[in-house]
């Protein structure tokens, strides 16, 4: 599994552009949520939440963990 480099082109919570506007509500919500969209390509990721941590996989850009 490759490790994703996190170029933030898209908001990883709502999937909208991360460069056009700020996403303070998403940033706040993300403290208690894993990412859902790939920040590089906007694809929805396969996310598995575990009791400790989470993993999110983009079919194109690999896996990130938190």
């Amino acid at each position: 599994m490759t490790t994703m480099t996190t170029t933030q082109l898209w908001c990883d919570r709502c999937g909208e552009s991360a460069t056009a506007t700020a996403h303070p509500a998403c940033a706040s919500a993300r403290q208690l949520e894993p990412p859902r969209f790939c920040p590089e390509c906007r694809r929805r990721m396969k996310v598995q939440v575990l009791p400790v941590g989470w993993s999110a996989v983009c079919v194109e850009h690999g896996e990130i963990q938190g």
Partner: protein, 331 residues
């Protein structure tokens, strides 16, 4: 002191008999200045009829997303535009999650699947997963797999699943506003079969779905009638893309009133903090709830959202001098 609290002191604290629907409603309608007294009484009830121990549980999603049901609060329904994608957890990762949970001192590990009810593939995964956990981890295994047939209930008993979670979610009169793909009665039927099998019944719901305060009281009374071993109390965490995604979060004081009211309705049940407490109550409210009738917590993350670090809850329990229930006490 409001009359309802005097009544509860005699009836619930003294005799261990829960309040009826009218009494629950009176507690839910208490003005703010009497909230601390209600929480103190609920705490006294919990200490007398349950003791100081707190049951700690971890949960994990075995099958996430793609659910055919339309529970309006749920980001895992395949019928909404939620960003949650379908994913299955493999057995090694399931065992790892159980080990993570046991390492916190938890005695319960609940395996959850987003399904209407389990199919043959899911039951096979459960059988293999439960066996693998029991071989490697010293923890009680619970399950939440939706609606069951009698044969599936028997299979879960055979696997060694000791407790089954199936939430009624809300009261009978409001349920059709929340779920249209199955009925409240269908859920009740699964709960009846679980009860008859000898498994412990875990049944709660979510507050803040748009129900009235009267319907909140109705729900607590219906749970009390069911008399479950455990009641997980969730507060709506509005999920993007779901029909309830724009609903407001429950007010902290209303959440605390509900905790006190549910405890006074069910003096002997395990009343568990579940999802949504972080955004509804925050750290201060979490503490108040633990001193107001709560005697169990889900630690760590939830199914699709994240919780407080387990260490934060365990430190709080230590500070409150509430011992974590030992595994030996649950067997």
């Amino acid at each position: 002191m409001p009359e309802i609290l005097d009544q509860a002191r005699t009836q619930v604290l003294g005799d261990g008999v829960g309040l009826d629907q009218a009494g629950i409603l009176a507690v839910l309608n208490l003005p703010d200045e009497h909230l601390s007294a209600a929480l103190q009484l609920a705490h006294d009830v919990r200490m007398r009829w349950c003791g100081p121990e707190v049951e700690v549980e971890g949960i994990v999603s075995l099958k996430t997303g793609g659910c055919p049901e339309d529970c309006h609060f749920c980001s895992q329904s395949g019928l909404f535009t939620s960003p949650v994608r379908s994913v299955w957890l493999d057995i090694p990762s399931l065992v790892k999650a159980a080990k993570q949970t046991a390492a916190t001192g938890a005695t319960e590990f609940c395996i959850v699947a987003a399904v209407r009810g389990p199919d043959a593939r899911l039951m096979k995964q459960m059988r293999e997963g439960v066996a693998a956990i029991k071989a490697e981890v010293d923890i009680q295994v619970a399950a939440s797999l939706g609606m069951l047939t009698k044969e599936q209930v028997d299979d879960l008993v055979d696997m060694g699943v000791h407790r089954y979670n199936h939430n009624l979610e809300t009261c009978k009169s409001y349920f059709p506003n929340v779920v249209t793909t199955h009925s409240w009665e269908e859920r009740w039927e699964t709960l009846r079969m679980v009860r008859d099998s000898g498994m412990e019944v875990c049944c709660g719901g979510i507050l803040g779905l748009g129900e009235t305060v009267e319907q909140r009281a109705e729900f607590a009374a219906q749970l009390a009638e069911l008399n479950p071993h455990e009641v997980p109390l969730n507060f709506l965490n509005p999920r993007p893309g779901t029909p309830l995604g724009d609903r407001p979060v429950v007010e902290g004081k209303d959440a605390l009133r509900a905790i006190a009211a549910f405890r006074l309705a069910m003096p002997r049940t395990i009343l568990r903090y579940a999802g949504g407490r972080e955004i509804t109550l925050g750290d201060l409210g979490t503490r108040e709830g633990l001193l107001g009738g709560i005697n169990a917590v889900i630690v760590g993350n939830y199914l699709t959202t994240l919780g407080r670090p387990a260490t934060a809850d365990l430190e709080l329990l230590n500070e409150l001098k509430m011992p974590v229930k030992a595994l030996s006490a649950t067997l």
